[in-house]
């Protein structure tokens, strides 16, 4: 059945191409001169230059010649279907901080629209971003899920995530976690750079940028909704949300909120006992069902106000996850991690005529990342006798200036400065270093960009430099050549990018030298790194893209990429014999360290067909590391605590990331009221580590180890995964302005796991099983229809 469905997906584009052959009459194509004709009031008059022309009527050419000059000003150069045209010609700012279309943006771009998100029935951002070429999710620490792309693990601050232009990566270590995080029903569109963005955005944008644009004031409506889901064994979760958008003459208001609770999974996991349970004889760990015990709670609220050119934005993101990778003696997962953040931005856009814009901006962010809610009863966990509590305040000032010399040449300059103030309350033992708990950190960035729309091609030259007292200046230039001609376009992109160390990285920086810290009683309580010897990671990226509009409603792009990172900053579990002797079997520390070099090479194909019947998006992505430098901590090696003793098993791919990935997203309007969406992912085999039970045995010193404590790790090859989701949407039912959506996620119950993408001994983190979900929404228009 799965194979049949997969075959259908592969054949689907061809079938759709065949089905579209009939849409070739001259009359229907002439309507493509007016790409916006269907929906935009502004162009409504163009839709009907004379009484004889309607959207589907046979066109009388003479009527078009009589159009007004104003109408002529909106004539399209390219004959493509309005549905596709609206998609590919939507102006995107994320790539060059200047509105450009996907075809001319100096990056490899993915645009996800509100329509695609809502019609797919996506439960959270994982559902949405899994459909992006090259994107994949994997397990980070403490039962959290992070993101990677093109084979590169990026959740450690190498993927910048912004909401309406505001950075929401946590400032301490720059992580960002997914799974019931960031409400998808409040998103207007997502602009994604599937490649480096450091030349504009700095040190968190080394591998990619995700800019989430939320629903705005211009909707002029109040909408609220909710949903719930049921997995095969357990209630999956529920959510409720609202959005209010209203505009007046010079003022606009957007207010939204979402509250949701969900379960990470209802499957079994090998969970490790905390120190208290382990020392009282429970053993190392055991398999346990996390059904009903893996709560992820999220509360989101946002307020945007705009008065003329002054904008005030504020958002609050409270996110709390359950660490299901460890448990107490009662087999309960009591440890929770909180990642709370409050972000405020004040921005003014000063215009000097039509050519010059100056934008001063002040941002204030307050975060409590890695807040560990550990009840006292199990305080003897892996983090010692106290909880971690980090409070971090970032004050950021920035100034951006743009000047358009003419319609072909523009420049952009910007400067930003930020200061981080931290207060760390952390008396932990093995996992964190015992260093100065208060710390202040400042950095500044200067960036510039020139855009030349030359007759032969577009040329973008840009660079950014980041200055900090803690590391050497990082200078990253980029050059991009883009060209579109008629139905074709190509891009050649050369970029450097970097990952700037954060306070948390510097706190746990490690160069192989350390000393043990003892308490007053002479008990070893932690280690102290000799120096903060951590330099920015630098990546050189070459990308090339070719795109073509195969037909009036079909668009296809193919791109090649090659990443090479120098001095990659890697977070991993460091162990040696001395630490084991001092702190016990398996003891070590999680550290950040510069490694020599790493990289990936690959290609991606993205096919889209859009029409007034619906759409189909199909993409394929591939990466390999066979000819790239590799580092043991990410490589598919046999399990051994000592890297020297590991043997590489698969030199082509990296831990957790599949070499091949195929994604499909289709949507059909069955009738005015009913539509069906099918989304799916196939990814090839993956590798990761899992626990291995050695039975009764002896350690190196000849001491007996009972089976419950004699556990090691092993490399596991996981079978390919096929995720299929079906979702139905009923519009204006049972009453006007009410929508009902219901569907099944993971129809075949493949229940993919999240694998740890770096060396460590965390068993695979289970994901949700097959889930039936229901969503409802109702909107109230706030303006009278004219």
């Amino acid at each position: 059945m799965k194979r049949l469905l997969l075959l259908l997906i592969v054949l689907l584009p061809g079938l759709l191409m065949h089905g579209q052959e009939k849409d070739t009459t001259q009359g229907k194509e002439f309507r493509y001169l007016f790409g916006f004709a269907k929906n935009k009031d502004k162009y409504a008059v163009i839709n009907n230059p004379s009484d004889s022309i309607g959207r589907n009527d046979t066109v009388r050419l003479s009527a078009f010649y009589d159009m007004s000059l104003e109408q002529l000003d909106s004539i399209k150069a390219l004959g493509i279907a309005p549905e596709l045209e609206r998609f590919i010609n939507r102006l995107i700012s994320v790539s060059a901080a200047k509105p450009l279309t996907q075809r001319t943006s100096p990056n490899i771009i993915t645009l996800i629209t509100e329509d695609e998100i809502r019609k797919s029935g996506a439960r959270d951002l994982i559902d949405v971003l899994r459909l992006v070429p090259g994107f994949h999710f994997a397990q980070d620490l403490n039962g959290n899920v992070g993101i990677g792309l093109r084979g590169n693990w990026a959740t450690e601050g190498k993927m910048l995530v912004m909401v309406d232009g505001m950075e929401i990566n946590e400032y301490y270590t720059a992580h960002l976690y997914f799974g019931n995080h960031l409400p998808v029903d409040l998103i207007k569109r997502i602009e994604i750079i599937r490649g480096p963005g450091s030349a504009i955005y700095g040190g968190f944008a080394e591998f990619g940028v995700i800019n989430i644009i939320t629903r705005g004031a211009d909707e002029n409506q109040l909408e609220f909704g909710g949903g719930a889901g049921m997995m095969t064994k357990e209630y999956a979760g529920n959510q409720s949300w609202m959005h209010l958008g209203k505009t007046w003459k010079n003022f606009s208001l957007s207010l939204s909120s979402c509250n949701s609770t969900s379960q990470r999974s209802d499957q079994k996991i090998y969970s490790f006992y905390d120190a208290a349970a382990s020392s009282s004889g429970a053993g190392v760990g055991d398999y346990v069902s996390v059904a009903g015990k893996s709560a992820i709670e999220s509360t989101w609220s946002q307020l945007n106000l705009k008065w003329k050119n002054l904008t005030f934005s504020s958002l609050s993101d409270l996110y709390r996850t359950t660490d299901i990778t460890q448990m107490n003696a009662n087999r309960d997962h009591k440890v929770k991690y909180g990642f709370s953040g409050g972000y405020t931005e004040l921005k003014y856009e000063l215009k000097g005529g039509s050519k010059f814009t100056l934008t001063p901006k002040v941002n204030l962010g307050l975060q409590t990342p890695w807040e560990e809610g550990t009840p006292y009863a199990i305080a003897q966990n892996e983090h010692g006798t106290d909880s971690v509590n980090i409070v971090l305040l970032r004050l950021k000032e920035s100034l951006t200036a743009t000047y358009d010399f003419d319609h072909r040449t523009s420049i952009l300059f910007g400067a930003e400065h930020y200061t981080d103030f931290t207060n760390i309350r952390d008396t932990v033992g093995q996992a964190y270093f015992t260093s100065d708990p208060k710390y202040q950190y400042a950095a500044a960035g200067i960036f510039g960009q020139a855009l030349f729309k030359l007759p032969a091609f577009h040329l973008v030259l840009g660079a950014r430099t980041e200055l900090s007292s803690e590391f050497k200046p990082a200078i990253v230039p980029r050059i991009a050549i883009t060209k579109k001609w008629n139905r074709y376009h190509f891009k050649v992109l050369l970029s450097q990018a970097f990952r700037a160390p954060t306070i948390g990285n510097l706190e746990q920086a490690f160069d192989g030298n350390y000393s043990v810290v003892y308490d007053t009683a002479g008990q070893a309580i932690g280690i102290s790194s000799v120096g903060r010897n951590l330099e920015p990671e630098r990546t050189f990226v070459f990308e090339a893209e070719f795109g073509v509009m195969l037909k009036n409603n079909m668009y296809l792009t193919a791109n090649f990429f090659d990443f090479t990172s120098k001095d990659p900053i890697v977070y991993y579990y460091y162990q040696d014999n001395f630490l084991e002797r001092t702190f016990g079997y398996g003891s070590g520390v999680y550290v950040y360290q510069n490694f020599p070099m790493s990289g990936t090479t690959g290609l991606e194909l993205d096919y889209r067909i859009k029409g007034n019947w619906g759409y189909c998006n199909l993409n394929y992505s591939y990466y390999s590391v066979k000819n790239n430098p590799r580092i043991p901590v990410y490589s598919v090696n046999t399990f051994d605590f000592s890297a020297e003793n590991q043997t590489e098993i698969n030199p082509k791919q990296l831990l957790a990331f599949p070499s091949h990935k195929l994604s499909v997203s289709t949507f059909f309007d069955v009738s005015d009221r009913l539509s069906i969406s099918f989304t799916g992912n196939y990814w090839s085999k993956t590798y990761g580590y899992d626990v291995m039970f050695l039975g009764d045995g002896y350690d190196d010193n000849g001491n007996f180890i009972p089976a419950a404590y004699h556990v090691s790790g092993r490399l596991v090859r996981y079978r390919p995964v096929f995720l299929a989701n079906l979702y139905f949407t009923l519009r204006d039912l049972p009453i006007k302005n009410m929508n009902i959506g219901f569907g099944v996620h993971d129809i075949f119950n493949d229940s993919p796991v999240f694998i740890q993408p770096f060396f460590g001994l965390k068993a695979p983190l289970p994901g949700p099983s097959r889930e039936v979900s229901l969503k409802l929404s109702y909107k109230i228009p706030l303006t009278k229809k004219k």
């Binding site: 001169l33 150069a77 004959g79 102006l91 450009l100 001319t104 319609h407 032969a456 690959g602």
Partner: protein, 180 residues
């Protein structure tokens, strides 16, 4: 898959795509030149030619081969230029045969001959229209261009327009990007 093999796969895939896209290439060109013909028709109405050229046939000359000919012929069959002049489309293959025309259209393939064309049409009251971006700066009066969001626009060199003894109505000038 080695890099060489990846590149080979990519090239094969792109070749197939180009073949597929070729199926509908004609339609793309049709639309592009349909759009151009709508502009050219408006030029006949909003550009002011010397008085001695406002009677008789309105001659649009296309130098070389271009799909625009077909669209201009359609326009000529349906509409009249200026204040009622019949539109005549003339296609020439050499500069020696240039007729006295109101508009001279230079397809991309003939862009390199712009200097010769300018030499031969000095003060001849001819509106030289090019389709390659940037040519207005180099001496054509008008060249077509496309914006970011695929709107068809034009650049206009007003100095060259005056040299050709032509004038333009402000409402049309407003639509163009002035260069030169």
């Amino acid at each position: 898959m080695s890099i060489r093999r990846q590149i080979r796969v990519l090239i094969i895939a792109l070749t197939l795509l180009c073949q597929l896209s070729g199926i509908r290439q004609g339609v793309a060109q049709d639309t592009y030149y349909q759009s151009q013909s709508l502009f050219i028709y408006k030029f006949t109405k909003y550009i002011i030619w010397p008085k001695n050229m406002t009677s008789g046939n309105f001659v649009i000359c296309v130098y070389g081969n271009s799909p625009v000919v077909k669209e201009l012929e359609t326009m000529a069959a349906l509409k009249k230029a200026g204040k009622g002049q019949n539109i005549v489309i003339v296609q020439v293959q050499t500069l020696d045969n240039l007729p006295k025309a109101h508009i001279l259209y230079i397809p991309s393939s003939k862009s390199r001959e712009l200097a010769d064309i300018m030499e031969k049409t000095k003060k001849a009251g001819v509106l030289i229209i090019a389709e390659r971006e940037g040519l207005a700066k180099k001496g054509a009066v008008i060249n077509f261009m496309t914006t970011e969001d695929e709107l068809l626009k034009f650049e206009i060199n007003v100095a060259r327009l005056k040299e050709q003894l032509l004038d333009i109505m402000p409402e049309l000038l407003k639509l163009g990007y002035k260069v030169g």
